[in-house]
């Protein structure tokens, strides 16, 4: 035996203590996303895109209001903003409803061009892995 009985007790004590801390803090901190996302990771066929939602929202960032991007929603609906098809009845060949990728490309690149800032080239957002 490379250790004393006292040392074994100390290890047991710390293990139990840390296990309690782990269980309590995992239980207390549910892993759900906040109502207003900080960053959003889009997994696309052209790699991963990280969108910094928080920076577009805050005053020290770009100070956008929700409605500037989430077009027709009322303020209390923003937190429930899900996919396009929750509102739009998507039918084959429906030209009024753009694909999600087209909508996002139009939204991001259009705004960045209009205000002369932010990425407009593919590889500036899409991280291929």
């Amino acid at each position: 035996m490379m250790f004393s009985r006292g040392e074994l007790k100390i290890v047991y004590g710390w293990t139990i203590g840390l296990l309690v801390i782990a269980v309590v803090s995992y239980a207390a901190l549910p892993s759900t996303s906040p109502d207003r996302p900080i960053r959003i990771a889009f997994q696309t066929v052209a790699g991963k895109v990280i969108f910094d939602h928080h920076r577009h929202l805050i005053e020290s960032g770009y100070g956008l209001s929700c409605g500037e991007c989430h077009h027709t929603l009322s303020p209390d609906e923003y937190s429930q903003a899900g996919s396009c098809t929750e509102c739009h009845q998507l039918e084959e060949g429906d030209e009024d409803v753009p694909k999600r990728s087209d909508a996002l490309h139009q939204q991001c690149i259009g705004c960045h061009r209009e205000y002369g800032g932010g990425p407009t080239e593919c590889a500036q957002c899409h991280v291929m892995q």
Binding site: M1, F3, E7, W14, L29, R39, V127
Partner: protein
């Protein structure tokens, strides 16, 4: 002529010099604590829960395995706790509990106890566990994707991923001092260069780890990164960036120096460190992973038995 007085050994009884495995474990934990606690400060309670679960579940897996295998209880030496802590320090702060306990199972049972326990593992157990998790749950272990719900007052992009995807220009504005003081995204205990360096130097001074491995490791990283940077400064980041980001300092002082999977002779230690350092940069610059240092450590572990063949000739043995 050999100095024969060096070979004279006195008769028993001998006096143990006091080095004990438990003390070594305690010293390593103390050395790792500054960087680990900085991670808790940076990422909050979620980081504490990951670290606490990693340490406690590592000890419990070892206890469970020794019970099942009818081996003597070994958790009192603290090595299982060390592996749990080092494993936890490489994880993103919000890794789910089931991934943490799967990881400690892989580290303790698969990478260590199956080979015979302390001193018998051919690969660094914490590195093996992180490597398998990286392959199994890619997005959970991807710092950019995993840390989306944390607000930082610095760039939230994992620096190595940014450098790999967008080239050296994307990271040229990152201040080296910021990286050194932990203002970067990454694993819980791997972001604070200052804490890791302090802990590493402490371990070297206490004689727990040998200086040859971390020094040659860092030189390997620097030399390889310098060659790439000189060849294409637009695409490849400079050496200082590679040393202060990702798992580099953590790997140099805490992973590569693990007792049973690293060499013991002078020249083998130098080669071992340099090989791991250069393979780590090769993986970052032209490999698949933005940070594949754990794989580089495993390659080093793999060649370690061969490297230790480079040793002084046995005295008195006829060739």
């Amino acid at each position: 002529m050999v100095d024969k007085t060096k070979l004279v050994v006195s008769f028993a009884p001998f006096w143990h010099n006091g080095n004990r495995v438990t003390d070594r474990s305690l010293q390593i934990i103390l050395a790792a604590l500054p960087a680990a606690l900085f991670g808790v400060y940076r990422f909050g309670f979620s980081a504490l829960s990951v670290l606490a679960l990693a340490v406690s579940s590592a000890v419990l897996w070892e206890l469970a395995f020794t019970r099942v295998a009818k081996r003597p209880v070994s958790v009192g030496d603290g090595t299982a706790a060390v592996i749990g802590l080092l494993f936890g320090m490489m994880l993103p702060a919000n890794l789910p509990w089931w991934a943490v306990i799967t990881g400690t199972f892989l580290a303790i049972v698969v990478a260590r106890q199956i080979y015979g326990g302390i001193g018998a593992n051919p690969f660094n157990p914490a590195a093996v566990a992180v490597a398998i998790l990286m392959l199994a749950w890619k997005n959970r272990m991807d710092f950019d994707t995993a840390l989306v719900n944390y607000v930082f007052d610095f760039s939230a992009a994992f620096p190595l991923a940014a450098a790999k995807a967008l080239g050296a220009n994307a990271v040229k504005d990152l201040s080296l001092a910021d990286l050194f003081w932990g203002r970067q995204a990454g694993g819980i205990g791997t972001i604070c260069g200052a804490g890791l360096l302090a802990g590493g130097v402490y371990l070297v001074l206490r004689g727990i780890i040998r200086w040859e491995i971390p020094v040659s490791f860092l030189l390997g990283v620097a030399a390889t990164a310098a060659i790439f940077h000189a060849a294409d400064p637009v695409r490849f980041a400079p050496p200082a960036f590679h040393i202060l980001t990702g798992f580099t300092l953590f790997g140099a002082f805490f992973l590569a120096t693990e007792d049973s999977s690293s060499p013991v002779n002078f020249i083998p230690m130098l080669i071992y460190g340099a090989v791991i350092g250069s393979i780590a940069v090769l993986i970052r610059n032209i490999g698949v992973f933005a940070e594949g240092l754990v794989f580089a450590v495993m390659v080093g572990n793999l060649i370690q038995p061969l490297l230790d063949k480079i040793r002084p000739k046995a005295l008195g043995k006829v060739a």
